[in-house]
């Protein structure tokens, strides 16, 4: 499903020193995998996820998604792939304020052509157990509920790949477990998931673990 080689990403720091976040990393994630990405803060986990999610571009390297070389695609085509094939979940939820759950979940469908956007949004909210919160605004929902709305939004276009960047980082243990259950369910249903987490218990329940350290990517053996 995902295959990348020699991915390099360097940032220039304010003091003009170069910060090599990713140094020629290679890796692959098979279709149907539930991969955890772990590593210390600032090690480049989010950077890698943004590159794999076509939100950011590497300085060099090749990236094949679903058998297609996507490194040199134009911005419009990249936007289309993000819309159709990838669902994002972020630590800060990123829901639109003063906007109902259904409308938030409908957002990806604004940029695609489906005949029944609202129905699909309602169905996606049902899958995360929020059928009774359709018209609530974010400030009327708990953190866990807000993250479930965000997951429904990631699911609404039926993408094959879900990229989650520390989705439980702001949530307490009980709610973290609820969210993890949802991801496990999605995995059982055949979706490919990449989960960035600091929580080693969560990582242990994934099918594989990738560790980023000192700009390099290692595959950890299953415990």
């Amino acid at each position: 499903m995902i295959q990348f080689r020699n991915i390099r990403k360097t940032y220039e720091r304010p003091d003009r020193a170069r910060l090599e976040v990713l140094k020629d990393v290679d890796g692959r994630i098979e279709e149907g995998a539930f991969a955890a990405v772990v590593g210390p803060s600032g090690s480049g986990k989010s950077t890698l996820m943004n590159i794999l999610g076509l939100l950011d571009q590497p300085d060099s390297g090749t990236y094949t998604l679903n058998g297609r070389e996507v490194t040199d695609l134009d911005p419009t085509e990249r936007a289309r792939i993000r819309n159709q094939d990838i669902g994002f979940v972020f630590q800060q939820f990123h829901l639109l304020p003063r906007t109902s759950a259904v409308e938030n979940v409908t957002l990806p469908l604004v940029y695609s052509d489906v005949p029944d956007p609202e129905d699909r949004a309602v169905a996606a909210l049902a899958r995360v157990g929020l059928s009774d919160r359709l018209h609530h605004h974010p400030h009327e929902l708990s953190g866990g509920q807000q993250q479930r709305v965000a997951i429904a939004r990631a699911l609404v276009n039926n993408p094959r790949l879900i990229l989650a960047d520390e989705p439980t980082g702001n949530l307490d243990a009980e709610v973290t477990e609820e969210i993890m259950e949802i991801f496990l369910g999605l995995h059982r249903a055949g979706r490919t998931i990449m989960l960035i987490t600091h929580d080693s218990d969560l990582a242990a329940r994934c099918t594989e673990r990738l560790r980023i350290e000192d700009g390099r990517l290692f595959e950890e053996a299953t415990v």
Partner: protein
């Protein structure tokens, strides 16, 4: 891309940011309303004045003023125009068929305990025909009254109301400058002259009475000549000029001591004078709308900054740069057009209310169209920069 959702999304933004949308639109509402009101009132006033002129200047006619502009354009001086000049013009020039001398002065007019300072106008025997203004009640001056400088007067209907209220003014005696006059009739309604003088609140007396008994003057203020139908106006102006210069004994190097106006000139002067109202005032409204555009652009730039995470998220879920640009453009356009419509409604309502008090005021359709067009331009101008800034945001940065 789903057009329905895009559109409902940009309308939804109003609900999400009510106060901000209100502030954004306010300038456009006020600008468009002001534009429509100013332009409507201005053009209505112009139409009104021109209608008066057309009534006065139907056929071929000219007006002679007993004054000339100094060469440097500063100030005027009085000439030596007399009733005898007019009689000479009538006798010597075959194209002059009728004339009426005019002389005005302001005097105290009183009836019983009512005292008013009014414009008194001396009029000739033919004034009803030449000036196109007879009486609606009573009788016009007779030839013998003119010749004998009789103490008789005609009054405008507003003067009649103010002096007599419900009483019948005909045959009553009033005092003009302390001398008694008998009221013979009430003048036909005539509206306002281009200087804003109310022609219905005046007193007319025979020109001879005016010259001898009220002001004791030799020269008249103005005169109107009626020419034969189809007369060559330019040639007539030249002929009249020649006769008057000869009678006033002006040497070859001396300027005219009178001015001659023909209907075309007067129309042009009226239009020029009215440009202040019909062009310059609405132009200030357009400037106000441009300021509104700057306000909208500023608020939207603020909004783009504040909504950076939203923009990043929209990009993450598949919005292209073009779609983000389109969204902010749409918000700006919808705001301005919607505000423009409200402003147009407000402007039309204000004009309608004004129209109830002054029937000559009607809505100027060109102003409504222009106002909405300006709103559209405002929306486009105001949306450009914020839309570009929003589209240019990097998704990764925007989501941090």
């Amino acid at each position: 891309m789903n057009k329905r959702l895009i559109l409902s999304g940009s309308v939804r933004v109003f609900a999400r940011y009510k106060l901000r949308s209100f502030l954004m639109g306010l300038g456009v509402v006020i600008g468009v309303a002001a534009l429509i009101v100013m332009r409507s009132v201005g053009t209505s006033a112009e139409d009104d004045v021109l209608e008066n002129f057309n009534r006065l200047f139907s056929g071929s006619a000219m007006t002679i003023m007993n004054r000339a502009q100094r060469i440097d354009g500063e100030g005027q001086w009085a000439g030596k125009l007399t009733v005898e000049d007019l009689e000479a013009l009538s006798a010597e020039l075959p194209q002059v068929v009728d004339f009426d001398p005019g002389k005005t002065a302001t005097r105290e007019v009183s009836y019983r305990d009512v005292n008013r300072s009014l414009m008194i106008r001396g009029a000739g025997e033919r004034a009803d025909v030449v000036m196109g203004r007879g009486v609606m009640r009573g009788e016009f001056f007779s030839g013998s009254e003119i010749r004998s400088a009789a103490r008789v007067a005609l009054i405008g209907f507003k003067t009649a109301e103010s002096l007599f209220e419900d009483e019948d003014p005909l045959g009553k005696q009033i005092e003009i400058g302390g001398s008694p006059f008998r009221i013979k009739g009430v003048l036909e309604e005539h509206g306002f002259d281009p200087h804003g003088m109310d022609l219905d609140d005046q007193v007319h007396v025979p020109i001879t009475t005016m010259m001898r008994r009220i002001v004791n003057a030799q020269y008249i203020d103005s005169a109107r000549l009626l020419l034969v139908e189809g007369a060559d106006l330019e040639a007539a102006v030249d002929d009249v000029t020649d006769v008057l210069r000869a009678r006033h004994e002006l040497g070859a190097t001396v300027q005219d001591d009178f001015s001659i106006y023909t209907p075309n000139q007067v129309q042009r002067l009226v239009k020029e004078a009215n440009q202040v109202v019909t062009v310059y005032l609405p132009a200030t409204a357009v400037i106000a709308l441009l300021v509104a555009a700057i306000v909208i652009a500023n608020i939207m730039l603020m909004s783009v900054r504040e909504r950076t995470p939203e923009i990043g998220l929209r990009k993450a879920v598949g919005a292209t740069e073009g779609q983000i640009k389109g969204q902010f453009f749409a918000e700006s356009l919808v705001t301005s057009l919607f505000s423009g419509l409200i402003g147009a409604g407000l402007g039309i309502a204000i004009v309608a209310v004004l129209g109830m008090h002054n029937t000559t005021i009607t809505i100027a359709p060109d102003a409504v169209a222009f106002g909405l067009l300006t709103a559209l331009v405002v929306g486009t101008l105001a949306g450009y920069l914020p839309a570009r800034r929003a589209a240019g945001l990097e998704a990764v940065e925007a989501l941090k």
